[in-house]
């Protein structure tokens, strides 16, 4: 099997056609883990728990040479974290996330759900306690961070249960989140960041201040990065009544510059506060997006 045929490296829309979030996330994670040499989300310390059959891609250092000598078969040793990481994934479910620039692509929400599920699966496999919060103008769904079995299914249900919202009030959601995260841990925000940057950064900065490791995944449809369309069009914000008439060809260059400037502003602001920032286009294979987070 070559890398090109790995599920995690296929076009996200193609992968999404394989089935629901669970199937997609599992396929992605399997492919992703098979393609790396070590787990990217190892805990603070590990303890041996069991053996499993060797798979191509597993690091040779985890091979159990004694088992090999006794049974002439390859096994790798698996370890359980002594101290679990507490990870909370925040998924933006606002109206703007339900948009896609072309029918052949996933909406930002669909892409974000699958990415969040895959990430949760990886974390849970590492025995990290993983939770979920979905939000729009309010917090819609809260799945507390656990590591017990069935947690991933609960997370997936939480994602599926959350409908597309209307506006986005990330700050309120993030404030609510601070109350839910009593212990220090990992916070992953999956959003298109179409809200007030300063307000959102205030909340993220607060989390960071509380000792959380914060990762921001900025989702963007390719059509949002480069302006195109008919000669003249009235663009309407799905979250508000605001609209504007533009000629995409005239504005494309300046718009592109504005978007790049905005991304740079987010990246700079996050870096300044010790927040990891990743810009992800919705046509990016899930494996590559996960690798950004590694």
């Amino acid at each position: 099997m070559t890398d090109v045929q790995r599920v995690d490296l296929l076009d996200p829309a193609e992968v999404a056609r394989l089935g629901g979030i669970e199937i997609v996330a599992q396929g992605v994670v399997e492919g992703f883990l098979a393609g790396i040499h070590r787990s990217p989300f190892r805990g603070f310390s590990v303890e041996f728990t069991e053996h499993r059959a060797y798979q191509p891609g597993d690091e040779p250092r985890y091979l159990d040479w004694k088992m090999l000598a006794r049974s002439d078969r390859l096994f790798v040793k698996q370890f359980e974290e002594e101290t679990n990481l507490r990870a909370m994934i925040l998924v933006d479910a606002s109206r703007s996330m339900a948009w896609r620039g072309a029918p052949a692509r996933l909406t930002k929400r669909a892409y974000g759900d699958r990415l969040a599920a895959a990430l949760a699966l990886i974390l849970l496999r590492q025995r990290d306690a993983t939770g979920l919060i979905t939000f729009d103008e309010a917090v819609r769904e809260v799945v507390p961070a656990r590591v017990k079995s069935g947690q991933w299914a609960r997370l997936v249900r939480g994602l599926v249960r959350t409908p597309d919202g209307r506006g986005t009030a990330a700050q309120a959601a993030l404030v609510r989140l601070t109350a839910l995260l009593a212990r220090r841990g990992l916070v992953v925000l999956v959003s298109d960041l179409l809200f007030d940057r300063d307000l959102a950064l205030t909340a993220l900065r607060y989390l960071r201040h509380r000792g959380h490791q914060v990762i921001v995944v900025h989702l963007m449809d390719p059509a949002e990065a480069e302006l195109s369309g008919p000669p003249e069009v009235r663009f309407r914000d799905p979250e508000s009544a605001a609209s504007v008439v533009v000629r995409p060809r005239e504005l494309a260059r300046v718009y592109g510059e504005t978007v790049r400037r905005e991304i740079a502003a987010w990246r700079t602001a996050c870096r300044r506060h010790g927040i990891a920032y990743h810009h992800v286009l919705t046509d990016m294979p899930f494996g590559m997006a996960l690798r950004l987070l590694a």
Binding site: L227, D237, A242, L251
Partner: protein, 574 residues
């Protein structure tokens, strides 16, 4: 500024298209959801001023582009210097192509007419649809019509035997073009500008009519031609014309193809060559010169009649002058005196009344001395069936006669008015009233308004009296007209009455055509009011007064530049 196609200017309405499109396009744009509206609003805010300027610039450029294209389509005419003029304002043009006989002269191995045709063609070829054009050839007829037809006429114009009076032609042409309500009027005189082609007076050229004359060749060749050839007293007198000072040339006379005499003569001289005795009847001969550069005048035909002398009887009442003249003519063998022997009766009788008894074929009736006998004579004339009769006394005056040589201007002091007949039978007049008439009644009768006596007229005392009596009895009484001369290709045409030949017309070119010397430029300028120009200057001066250049190419070039700028603004300023 004028336009060749002004209707195309209606297309200027199209200049509103960019603005209309702009407005219509803005009216109902399609709507679409676009979440990152904040980025878009920020981009638009940053670009608003630039876009507004760009839109305005594009609107101006596109409107200008349409205006330029529409103006170019209307073909604007802009004033241009002579050399650059490609078109001209509508012009009334008359081209005078002098293809008279002298244009056939060969200079430098090429007929002058070829050069004249080329120049005339150039003038006509420059005309446009809005022009009004005439072509006048040596025949003096003004031909109007479309350019192609006139060009074909020029191409087919051959050397004409006709002489063109340039002054009259220019005046006619100037009047023609002046009557046209067009912005410009020109007359192009394409001629060898012979001095003899110019009339005595100035051509009346109205103001506003521009006359251009082609300069003649600098030095026309020496020429000799036969100007006249007339038969008198058994000899033909040949007058040689042409360039003064040219060497003498051999004149050869032929009758019915047979050479009958030869002599040397220089221009300005005349030679008389005796004709051999010939039988009675009409004869045609020709006088020729050795060929030179102008062939048209090297040959001239002539005609004459050899007739037996008329037998004349003149009673006592005809008067002594008539008797004396007849005696002279009889001595010369020109007439026979009836009653002086011979069995044949008189051909002509001259007296106060028609001779019915003597059997004369023709009676020449003169007024009676006694006024009381006028009524009796009139009754006799009426009895003969003729319409003419003697009326009351007429006023004195000079004789005017075109068909009887030598009597013009001779004074008549006493006369009777001749009344009752048709004008066509009048031979000579005094004060506009008939004085010598031919009565077509029974028997030929000639009526004279005066007696041939010095108490009535000075004619008997004039040298022309004997020739007059000769013509009276030998020609007029027999109903013959003299040999007439007319302009045309050399030939002879005979006039007949019944089965009798009563006269002849001899055609030949005008003797003035043989004098090839060109008129001085100053004289042409003065007489014709013309600018005399050499070929290149003539070509450049045509339509120069209204010379216009077609500005459409300039506008199209501008439109191209505007289009490039528009393309640049539309693409580079996005």
């Amino acid at each position: 500024m004028t336009f060749l196609h002004p209707l195309a200017l209606v297309g200027l309405v199209a200049a509103a298209i960019p603005a209309l499109l702009h407005l219509l396009e803005r009216r109902v744009p399609p709507e679409a959801e676009f979440p990152p509206l904040r980025y878009l609003s920020e981009a638009e805010r940053q670009s608003a001023r630039r876009l507004k300027l760009r839109h305005l610039l594009l609107l101006i450029l596109r409107t200008l582009l349409i205006v330029l294209i529409v103006l170019a389509a209307a073909r604007p005419l802009v004033p241009a210097r002579t050399g650059g003029a490609t078109v001209h304002a509508p012009t009334a043009l008359a081209v005078i192509l002098d293809n008279s006989a002298s244009s056939g002269v060969v200079v430098d191995g090429r007929p002058v007419l070829d050069r004249l045709r080329a120049v005339a063609r150039g003038s006509l070829a420059r005309t446009a649809a809005g022009d009004r054009v005439w072509l006048i050839l040596a025949d003096g007829v003004a031909r109007g019509g479309v350019r192609e037809r006139l060009l074909a006429t020029v191409d087919s114009a051959a050397v004409s035997p006709r002489r063109l009076d340039l002054s009259a032609a220019v005046q006619q042409a100037a009047r023609l073009v002046d009557a046209e309500p067009l912005p410009a009027r020109e007359v192009h005189v394409v001629s060898d500008l012979q001095r003899t082609a110019l009339g005595a007076g100035r051509a009346d050229v109205p103001r506003g009519v521009r006359v251009l004359a082609l300069a003649p060749p600098p030095q026309p060749p020496a020429n000799r031609g036969i100007g006249t050839a007339r038969v008198t007293d058994g000899a033909v007198t040949v007058g040689v014309v042409g360039t003064q000072g040219a060497a003498a040339a051999a004149v050869t006379v032929r009758v019915r193809g047979r050479e009958v005499g030869r002599a040397l003569a220089a221009p300005g001289a005349a030679v008389s060559i005796a004709l051999p005795p010939l039988a009675p009847g009409w004869w045609v001969g020709e006088a020729t010169l050795d060929p030179d550069e102008l062939r048209a005048d090297d040959r001239r035909v002539f005609a004459w009649r050899v007739a037996p002398p008329a037998r004349v009887t003149a009673p006592q009442d005809a008067g002594p002058f008539v008797a004396a003249a007849l005696a002279v003519l009889a001595d010369g063998g020109k007439v026979g005196i009836a009653g002086a022997g011979g069995a044949r009766g008189p051909d002509v009788s001259i007296g106060e009344r028609p001779d019915r008894r003597g059997g004369a074929r023709t009676n020449v009736v003169i007024p009676p001395v006694d006024a009381a006998l006028v009524g009796q004579v009139n009754r006799a004339l009426a009895a003969g069936g003729g319409p003419w009769r003697f009326g009351g006394p007429g006023t004195p005056g000079p004789i005017a006669a075109s068909s009887v040589a030598g009597i013009d201007g001779i004074q008549v002091t006493r006369r009777y008015r001749l009344e009752g007949g048709e004008d066509s039978t009048v031979v000579a007049r005094v004060n506009g009233e008939p004085w010598l008439v031919r009565d077509p009644g029974e028997g030929r009768v000639l009526l004279l308004g005066s007696r041939l006596d010095t108490a009535w007229t000075a004619l008997p005392a004039a040298p022309a009296f004997v020739p007059f009596v000769d013509a009276l009895v030998n020609r007029l009484a027999r109903g013959e007209a003299p040999v007439a001369e007319a302009e045309g290709a050399p030939r002879v045409e005979f006039r007949t009455r019944g089965t009798d030949t009563v006269g002849a017309t001899v055609y030949g070119i005008d003797a003035r055509e043989s004098e090839l010397a060109a008129a001085p430029t100053a004289l042409v300028r003065w007489l014709l009011g013309a600018e005399v120009l050499e070929d290149p200057a003539f070509a450049a001066a045509r339509f120069a007064g209204t010379g216009r250049a077609d500005g459409s190419w300039l506008l199209l070039a501008l439109a191209l530049v505007v289009a490039v700028v528009e393309l640049g603004v539309a693409t580079l300023t996005r």
